[in-house]
Amino acid sequence: MESRIKEVLDKYWAGETSLAEELEIKEYFKSNPEISGIGSYFHQLKNAKLVNSSVDYSYSTTKKRWFSVAAVLVGLLTASIVIVEANRSEQYLVEDPQKAFEITKKALMMVSNGLNESTHYTAEIKRLNKAEEKIRE
């Protein structure tokens, strides 16, 4: 059998095999998987053992389901925290338009005055600088 297959294989690599002979090779490797490279590789894997076999590496489908439930819960929790936080500032929201108008007016006046004050200062500094230059001249 061995010599016969060798003979046919030589013919195969030379490209001279008939269809019947190729089938013969196929059959041979099928019945003796440990001879072909892939066969022996899988054979080795079959005999390999996990170093720590007590750890379960497989995720069961129920576990997967729990993960998604947990993720959704985390999402909802975050969303509710955000909503609660948003409401916090709403308790200071002014609801009376007249009051809101007065407050806004006051606030903008304050900002406006502040802005003008600083531009006033820079104008003054510029004026001082100019005066200084004139004196130097």
């Binding site: 500032s89 929201l93 338009p97 809101a100 407050i103 606030a107 304050m110 900002v111 802005l115 004050e117």
Partner: protein
């Protein structure tokens, strides 16, 4: 999985929406039990109500045009806080840490004041004002579309109005 993604996007969207005025928000939270401080928030809906008011004087026109582009106003203020100095320094630090750019600061004998802004695409989208005096502390956030020229005109227009009134008094 799709549901989860939608929830996550929604949460992130909320966070982005909350980002504006968030520094004042932080102080709202911190001082929520402290009655020394006045806390005020005005919504964009309220601003849109203002614009329906009839504008009379020049100052009011300037005021309304400045307000029409605003989205919100948040203020924390106190006139009687013994820790105003500490609060002022802390607020300045927080504003800087939050990535605001210092625009200008004014210091005089009575009080210190600092303006900081957040810009986006060359436009100011938030203005923070911090004031610290003897017992005074103010932290204000204006957000929306902010036109500094427009806002600074308000006070000038008001002052002009005031002077006109003085002249009238003289004539009498």
């Amino acid at each position: 999985m799709k549901k989860l993604l939608i929830i996550m996007v929604a949460v992130m969207g909320m966070n982005v929406a909350m980002a504006q005025g968030s520094i004042v928000e932080k102080y709202f939270k911190e001082l929520s039990g402290n009655d020394d401080y006045t806390k005020v928030s005005v919504s964009s809906k309220m601003f849109s109500l203002f614009t329906e008011l009839e504008s009379g004087s020049e100052a009011e026109k300037e005021f309304l045009s400045a307000v029409s582009k605003l989205k919100g106003l948040k203020i924390i203020a106190s006139d009687s806080t013994p820790t105003s100095r500490k609060m002022y320094d802390k607020a300045l630090k927080d504003v800087k840490a939050a990535g605001y750019e210092e625009l200008m600061s004014v210091m005089d004998a009575e009080e210190d004041m600092q303006f900081s802004i957040k810009e986006k695409g060359g436009k100011i989208e938030e203005l923070i004002m911090v004031v610290g005096g003897r017992e005074k502390f103010v932290l204000m956030s204006l957000y929306g579309e902010i036109d500094l020229k427009n806002i600074s005109k308000i006070a000038r227009a008001m002052k002009v109005g005031g002077l006109e009134n003085l002249e009238l008094l003289d004539e009498k």
